[in-house]
């Protein structure tokens, strides 16, 4: 069968730093992956096409790139699954990272993020002999994050990194989780405090789910970030607007059966945080002009007492 590829090309030197699109049509085996197709192009059609790949078995993490706009590991992406009717496939380098050439991106952004989370075990003591004792469940729990192969797909498609390059990013936070959850590590509180306090830390995630969607190894970085938030709060880190936002959300729904948006904005900023409140004022005024300002006194939902009972029931269960 045939596959039609439209590949974004870039060469910083020989073509004066311009990007261009190049189309290739090649014959492939019906079971071929997108990587097989690109290797076929590189080996038989166009030796100038640059891409990274090594294991072909989704364990080395080399071949992350965008297929039809979303990051994927192309070694585990079969052509028939993404182009069942022979549609043209658009192939681009991953996002949020600097392009070196064609489909090859610089790894500097990714590993700079990883380095921010002290990505190594910091045990409190070293056993005199033998290994650390830990339950098998606690170790298997960490597999979720150890499955990460550092391919960078989550970083590529992270919608926060698109606008805030200071965000530690989904992969590095999943890595951080791997240490806060490791019973052998002695720096859990320090790690959580740092991730909570730092600009670009756990509260910068907008929960868009993109990283969960594109991760080829089931790491689900956003879920790890949410667990880090809970752990940070439980460890007493309640000084962030992220925490106030969560708390206000909880309280207003419990009280009114629905969200009090005005209060949420003010609670999140902090009642004493004058500069931040002044920042919010123009938004409030603009919303008012358009008739979109939420009510100052919140509406209550009709059966808000039922909502309260739901809270009590759920919280009772978790106790």
């Amino acid at each position: 069968m045939q596959v039609n590829l439209k590949v974004k090309r870039f060469d910083p030197v020989d073509s004066g730093g311009k990007t261009w699109w190049q189309e290739y049509t090649v014959d492939i085996h019906p079971d071929s992956t997108v990587l097989d197709s690109l290797i076929h192009v590189r080996e038989q059609v166009d030796g100038t096409l640059a891409l990274r790949c090594a294991c072909r078995a989704s364990i080395c993490g080399s071949c992350g790139m965008k297929v039809n706009g979303g990051a994927r590991l192309v070694c585990k992406t079969r052509v028939v699954d993404v182009a069942p009717n022979g549609e043209q496939l658009t192939i681009e380098p991953m996002g949020n990272q600097h392009v070196v050439r064609d489909l090859v991106i610089s790894l500097d952004t990714f590993f700079a993020q990883i380095k921010r989370v002290q990505p190594f075990l910091q045990p409190g003591f070293v056993p005199d002999h033998g290994e650390y004792t830990a339950s098998n469940e606690s170790m298997e729990n960490l597999l979720t994050s150890m499955n990460c192969i550092m391919c960078g797909c989550c970083v590529s498609d992270c919608t926060v990194l698109e606008v805030d390059s200071n965000f530690i990013g989904p992969a590095a936070l999943a890595k951080a989780w791997r240490f806060t959850e490791d019973p052998r590590d002695s720096k859990r509180d320090e790690r959580l405090k740092a991730l909570n306090d730092e600009d670009g830390g756990i509260w910068d995630c907008t929960r868009c789910m993109k990283c969960v969607e594109v991760c080829p190894k089931g790491v689900a970085p956003m879920d790890r970030i949410m667990e880090l938030r809970e752990a940070a709060i439980e460890a007493g880190n309640t000084n962030t607007s992220g925490y106030h936002h969560t708390e206000s959300f909880y309280n207003s729904v419990k009280k009114n059966g629905r969200l009090d948006e005005t209060r949420l904005a003010i609670d999140s900023a902090g009642w004493m945080n004058i500069p931040r409140l002044l920042d919010l004022a123009p938004i409030g005024i603009a919303a008012m002009r358009k008739g979109k300002l939420p009510p100052i006194r919140p509406h209550k939902s009709e059966n808000h007492n039922q909502v309260k009972r739901l809270y009590e029931s759920v919280e009772g269960e978790s106790k």
Partner: protein, 560 residues
């Protein structure tokens, strides 16, 4: 100009373990690798790492004997003793660095069974043991602030007055060629699987390290010993870990029969790899296969167990073949997987070239002999990676800094420029593919004089085409096209040594099984083959032999 006390080529397990050791002792070290360390092929090791732990009722002699028996008595017993004695501490040390090994109910490390071994002594992380260890060693490298030349491709070792003094390498991101001086160089550049097609190996396993050392005068030892792994996924050739059989999976032929009963009644599916691969190939050759495969059956293990302990296998089976292993047996076949052969070293990793060390798959100590046991390769990397570093640290104390190395750079620049300037000819990929298919055909699970001569003839043809291989990409930045042409030259060197070794050994031993001479011949061939590169000799190879070290285990007939 770059300069280090110790330069390590390769950022996989052997390289990173060596680097950690050098750093601990305060010497200046750098790793150079054509890929980022976490992309290394150590990732692909799935099932586990062996270690006999005495507090678990095991002993080093048991592991050593299983290893030696597995090697069909070709392993050097002094080297195996060292590996088995140091294994426990090597594995525990990895755990203390942060590896999340699976545990038993007592919270201590748990084991699974692996092939060719009497005891369950394989420590593991699901079916991603290599990846889990590699990533932890990488974490340690970040902690120690290790200097890594990422995506630099070594084209030549710098040898002065017979002593290794550094390397010449291309920085792939800029295309510039540099000299990196070093008092000692540790070769930890991995295997040469791509000399064969198909192979379970990553596309980066092109024998660079073997060839670089071979060109510098080091002999390659027992290169005819090519491991065909018994379970590689049909059509794709992806590795399906021995852990599947270690946890109880069956091998079935088209008649639903557990055919291992015929050849290994005691060990069944867990006989050593050469034995199992031959049994499978026999079933396939005699018409009891299914489209050139036999079946790996895990159904009786249950879905929960499969997903928990062998999750990665289930992932690739579902995603690449659409087969749910809890419901259906999965078709597999023997596939080229590992080279037991490699750069001959002492038990301290030293080669015959002063200043040049080797560890990991590119080296041959020899602990694997004619057949490696599963889960001994990871052990080999960490034990001998550390030992190479320790010995190199001693060696550099007596080495002064050097000044002459710039001379080679101009010569090497001219060589690469000439390659770029060649008129349009054959693509390196076409020549590589022809070479690798010829190697698999001639030096397969079964081989004989005629098939090996066929491989040689094919190689003669390949070498005649080599000077006309051209590079289409003339650019500087990330020019992999140029790198592939250079890798092909490395692979041809390895192929030379494999064929020369194979044609020399007139017996069947371990992975070298000749259908025309089916017996092992200890009287004449209980020895290593050593292939030297010699451009004045026919086929550029000169073959010698050396004795096998026997300490306490006299060779006996191998029965599983």
């Amino acid at each position: 100009m770059y300069e280090h006390d110790v330069l390590i080529i390769g950022g996989g397990l052997a390289g990173l373990r060596a680097a950690v050791e050098v750093t601990k002792h305060g010497a200046d070290v750098a790793v150079i690798s054509k890929v980022h360390p976490v992309r290394s092929h150590s990732n692909a090791a799935q099932g586990g790492i062996n270690a006999p732990l005495t507090d678990r009722g095991d002993d080093w002699e048991g592991h050593a004997y299983d290893t030696i028996k597995g090697s069909d008595f070709l392993a050097d017993q002094d080297a195996v003793e060292i590996m088995s004695r140091e294994a426990g501490e090597a594995v525990l040390e990895l755990e203390r660095m942060g590896v999340i090994f699976s545990r038993g109910d007592d919270g201590k490390l748990g084991t699974r069974r692996f092939g060719g071994q009497k005891k369950a002594r394989t420590f593991f992380v699901g079916a991603i043991t290599g990846s889990a260890i590699l990533h932890v060693l990488f974490e340690q490298s970040l902690k120690l602030g290790l200097n890594v030349y990422e995506e630099w491709f070594v084209t030549k070792l710098v040898i002065e007055d017979g002593v290794c003094r550094g390397v010449i390498a291309i920085d792939l991101k800029t295309g510039d060629l540099h000299t990196i001086k070093a008092k000692a160089v540790i070769m930890a550049a991995g295997g040469a699987g791509r000399v064969f097609e198909p192979s379970t190996n990553a596309l980066i396993c092109t024998g660079d390290g073997l060839s670089l050392a071979y060109r510098a005068g080091a002999p390659l030892m027992d290169m005819e010993m090519i491991q065909y792994h018994p379970t590689t996924l049909a059509r794709t050739g992806i590795l399906m870990s021995e852990a599947a059989r270690g946890e109880g999976a069956y091998l079935l032929n088209s008649e639903g029969e557990r055919f291992m009963e015929k050849v290994a009644p005691d060990y069944m599916e867990l006989a050593s790899r050469d034995v199992v691969s031959r049994a499978e190939q026999t079933e396939i050759n005699e018409g009891r296969g299914i489209d050139g495969n036999v079946l790996l059956d895990l159904r009786h293990l249950g879905r929960e167990f499969i997903e928990q302990r062998l999750g990665y296998l289930q992932e690739v089976s579902v995603e690449f073949l659409g087969i749910d292993m809890a419901e259906q047996p999965v078709p597999i076949q023997p596939g080229m997987h590992y080279i037991m052969g490699g750069i001959k070293t002492t038990v301290d990793g030293a080669t015959i070239v002063p200043g040049l060390y080797a560890a990991g798959e590119c080296a041959n100590v020899s602990v694997h002999g004619a057949n490696r046991l599963g889960a001994n390769s990871l052990l080999d990397t960490v034990v001998f990676g550390r030992r190479s570093a320790a010995h190199a640290l001693e060696y550099i104390k007596s080495v002064g800094s050097n000044s002459k190395t710039e001379e080679d750079l101009a010569t090497e620049k001219a060589r690469l420029q000439a390659l770029l300037d060649r008129p349009t000819g054959e693509r390196s990929a076409t020549v590589r593919d022809d070479m690798a298919r010829g190697m698999t055909k001639g030096i397969g699970v079964f081989r004989d004089q005629a098939s090996m001569e066929g491989a040689l003839e094919n190689l003669v043809n390949i070498k005649s085409r080599l000077p006309a291989v051209s590079v289409e990409n003339k650019g500087k930045v990330f020019n992999t096209d140029l790198m592939f042409a250079l890798e092909l030259e490395f692979m041809v060197d390895c192929a030379d040594a494999v064929v020369a070794g194979a044609l020399t050994r007139k017996e069947s031993r371990g992975a070298h099984f000749r259908t025309d001479i089916t017996e092992r011949d200890d009287e004449n061939w209980l020895k290593h083959t050593l292939v030297y590169r010699d451009e004045t000799a026919e086929h550029d190879t000169r073959v010698e032999t050396s004795p096998v070290s026997i300490t306490q285990w006299e060779p006996v007939r191998r029965v599983y």
